[in-house]
Point group: C2
């Protein structure tokens, strides 16, 4: 599995993805699942992927090939005028891969299971955040629930449900997302370090605040231990059940 | 879905189950999923059930019918000498129900999905805790991980993973389990109040500490709010991420 989170705040976006892929528990590898297309000063587009790695890589490669082939007339992630158009491009790429590989996968009893979180900003718009499904259709987040999760999302959802506020600072949201990852990593082997993360400040149009957090990252270690301690202390402070 | 937890501690057992059943989100009802057979001073046997309600009810009814029919020569939950024997009786009952209903369920594309947590004590033994699968086979908990969960278990697992200790008081464990339920209830509609809970003290051979916790239970309300506050305070105390 995988775990990816995207959150849209008043001040920008925070996106994070783990890097573990596995084909059975004895075949584990590390792959980047956070992909960025960027034109400094004009657009930053981020795609987080979950599901069949061959399919998600094919989708990303298609989008990149189209973008690189600038002589082409077609709209690409580098030329689209809005994030809505980019979401449609991602959907089309998924459908293209399905048209090529879908039948063979089905014949092999493999699932065409993929899911993407798409976040970014194109000059002239606010930052936007989408979830794109295997069918190529998509939703955009609204204010009521400003975060999206794909992959192994249940362990890390309670903290997002409790703590998320639209007016958080990006660093606060990043802390929350790392705690959500910490809970998931502790309870589920199919999600693994390192974690790729991007903090995107509205109207910055750059990816300066992108980082790969390794297992031994001092901040992550301290956060993880600190949180365990806070939970234990908080737990001890609450009145015991009696019947 | 359902959420049930059982934990085996040095001082006894704590078992809890929600009561929501649903056949689609527009067909929700409340059913007891914590079943007790008891002979005061000699045995307390508790079965928590998850899965197809018709199947789990049939399993419980079969076990009860056999137990009531005392003229019968066969071993029942009321006469078995060990909890291991009881676990085998539960397994046999599952297989009996499968033999009767399994084919018709399969023909109807319904799953024969059930799962049970069995906990209790019979005089002459320590308290024991088992998970019984749809195939009728089972596992018993060991010291390394003294809790079992069935149903919608992911949301509530992180707190159990972090807080569980074999030497907890039962009231402490009950508090932890209720927090585990609280996280699940907040994030998943298919798990619902009230919660049935039994705190079983080793060698008590009674079910005096059995309770149904309703939505408006003052302790549960206070615990839920208190925990949210502790989490928010703890979160705020931790250093913010910066990159």
């Amino acid at each position: 599995m995988t775990y990816c989170v995207g959150i849209k705040l008043d001040r920008g976006l925070v996106l994070a993805a783990d890097t573990r892929t596995n084909a059975g528990i004895d075949n584990i590898a590390s792959f980047k699942k956070l992909h960025v297309w960027e034109k400094t000063g004009e657009r930053v587009i981020t795609l987080l992927s979950s599901g069949n790695l061959a399919v998600t890589q094919a989708v990303v490669s298609l989008l990149s090939e189209h973008a690189d082939n600038s002589s082409d007339e077609r709209t690409t992630v580098m030329t689209a005028k809005t994030m809505f158009q980019v979401a449609r491009l991602v959907g089309s790429a998924i459908r293209e891969v399905k048209a090529i590989d879908g039948e063979a996968l089905a014949a092999n009893a493999d699932n065409f299971y993929v899911s993407f979180i798409l976040g970014g900003q194109i000059k002239g718009e606010e930052p936007r955040l989408f979830q794109v499904y295997a069918a190529g259709n998509f939703i955009e987040v609204a204010d009521d629930t400003p975060f999206l999760q794909i992959g192994e999302h249940k362990y890390g959802k309670p903290i997002l449900d409790r703590v998320t506020r639209k007016n958080m600072r990006l660093g606060e949201a990043a802390k929350m997302i790392l705690l959500s990852f910490d809970s998931t990593l502790r309870s589920n082997l199919s999600v693994g370090m390192p974690i790729d993360m991007l903090l995107y400040n509205t109207d910055s149009f750059n990816t300066d605040r992108q980082i790969r957090i390794q297992q031994d990252n001092p901040y992550f270690q301290k956060l993880s231990h600190g949180w365990s301690e806070k939970l234990r202390e908080g737990f001890a402070d609450l009145e015991e059940f009696d019947v």
